[in-house]
Symmetry: C2
Subunit: 331 residues, 2 copies
């Protein structure tokens, strides 16, 4: 197993120590838990908590900071965090205006975050939740009923985080989050598998000339496998699937995220973005902002996803608002 | 060849189109050349131009913007840009206060940037240069006389860029750049090779249990190969080599860059940073800021480098000054 680690069973613990050592101006750790919260928190606003299995870095700990998350819970690699961990995060970030849980749609995540919400509510903390399911590739999957939540989650963190920063109440922040979820769609592809440290071997195999379209961020099956095609053909196909699910009209405005899964060079992501921009231009769709890079990864998987978020004036203003976190800074 | 590209011979052209499409608020392209300059340039200050072979993204085009570079020249993959390309960049960014060329120490880069400087000087443009050689691994290498320039270049862009932004003259900006070069050291390792698109196959091979210590960012030989060791052992070894070359005392202050080469998960880079922070703490060395991520890559090579920059009050203030570029934002 070619990894730069110490012991596989220590990788999440040591990663979290490394994150806190790198970014003490942004995050601190809740002693005894795999939870990162803002260094200067809790703040007197609605707090946002997200998380999930580790292996998707910088999601979600990299997005803890002003204008985005208040807390992030790190499960074992590709494994939902337990309810007690989420519960600690909720307690730590609550500033009396309530806490919104942002959950990617995986059965374990939904169950454990909901259980944590019940525990926190029993303590008198106001908690609500949203579940994001932006992956248009497949209905139901290995660990999911319904669609999976993938890279669109990062735009959700950004926009809901900006809304919370305005002092909006929990109902309002949830309304904005639901609006993002209703208007964001993603789809990905993979060229190679990844290796979960504790497993020590690739999670699946792809032939040297083969790719998988619609693969999930834990290696869950996509729509099909086929021979590798050109970047333009792949990008066009992913966009067609997104447009089929969320029709866009001439004059509509979007945010674009071309997200790397971990091992795909930035050079290739920009080649993809060239085609994405060309397709959007040809359709007369405006782009308010484009993000290209590794935002929601799958360890060292090679591949990428495309996310489109349809904007209105409200979402656009929140998207473009400042943010200051380890992995997302904008001003 | 598992790559998301169209034609190998088009990859730099299409990447540049993708960068401009993604970040029009930051960069524009000089028509007919592989040069990115600030969207709002030229500005009335000393201008900084860097560049080199492509394949190291986000270096260098990702660092064009306020507080860092004014122009970046993209050669073919792992190939020095030609003098005429650098010359166009210099002409485009000059705002009458002169241009500083920031060159990584590779023979072709030095020769071609110097030739461009002569061409620009013949036009009456003030041009000066610095050559960075931060890689302590080996003296002389495949394409280098003396030491190679690697990830420390990003900190040089940051600090020289901040100095230029203050309105300092060319002599002053060069003085600061030379001070960074005198105080920055890096060393890397690789777990796997990368594939230059035009070649279509890996540039070298490493056995399944093998790593190379001190490898360059184009796959140039390092100091030795050995069986993969733990993240802590590797990090300690790289730091020892850096300390041997640049002794640091208790009470000294540094900036840290744990740089991914392209395919190494952020999780692993943070595991490395945990050890880097522990070693620095044990020595009583303070850390002013830590950067962890893919800043100077080698396409899809797996591996990382560690960079330490010894700071004084002047360098520290410039390091922490604001920057706003596609791949480096700080405020």
């Amino acid at each position: 197993m070619k990894k730069v680690i110490n012991k596989p069973e220590q990788v999440v613990e040591e990663m979290l120590q490394g994150v806190v050592a790198a970014h003490p101006q942004y995050v601190k750790r809740i002693e005894g838990f795999n939870v990162l919260v803002r260094a200067n928190g809790p703040t007197a606003k609605v707090a946002l908590v997200s998380g999930g299995g580790s292996g998707h870095e910088p999601s979600h700990g990299g997005f803890v900071g002003r204008g985005m998350l208040d807390g992030a819970v790190a499960g074992a690699v590709f494994t939902s965090p337990t309810p007690d961990q989420v519960y600690e995060a909720v307690k730590a970030v609550d500033g009396d205006k309530g806490v919104l849980l942002i959950i990617k749609n995986y059965t374990g995540d939904v169950m454990n975050f909901e259980m944590a919400a019940e525990m926190a509510e029993a303590d008198g903390i106001k908690v609500d939740k949203v579940v994001i399911n932006d992956d248009v590739a497949v209905e139901n999957s290995t660990w999911t009923t319904g669609r999976r939540g993938i890279a669109g989650t990062v735009l959700l963190h950004k926009i809901a985080g900006a809304k919370a920063e305005t002092g909006a109440d929990l109902t309002e922040v949830k309304r904005i989050a639901e609006k993002v979820i209703a208007n964001v769609r993603s789809m990905g592809m993979a060229l190679s598998p990844c290796i979960v440290p504790a497993a020590g071997k690739p999670s699946f195999t792809l032939a040297e000339d083969e790719m998988e379209i619609g693969m999930g961020i834990h290696g869950e099956p996509g729509t099909h496998r086929e021979n590798i095609r050109s970047a333009d053909e792949i990008a066009s196909h992913l966009l067609e699937k997104i447009f089929a699910d969320m029709p866009l009209q001439q004059g509509d405005e979007v945010a674009v995220l071309v997200n790397g899964l971990g091992a795909t060079p930035l050079m290739e992501l920009y080649v993809v973005n060239r085609k994405v921009a060309a397709v959007l231009n040809a359709k007369g769709i405006k782009t308010a902002k484009t993000f290209v890079g590794n935002y929601m990864t799958s360890l060292e998987m090679a591949g990428f996803s495309i996310t489109l978020l349809k904007l209105d004036a409200e979402l656009k203003a929140l998207l473009l608002a400042p943010a200051d976190t380890p992995a997302f800074v904008q001003f």
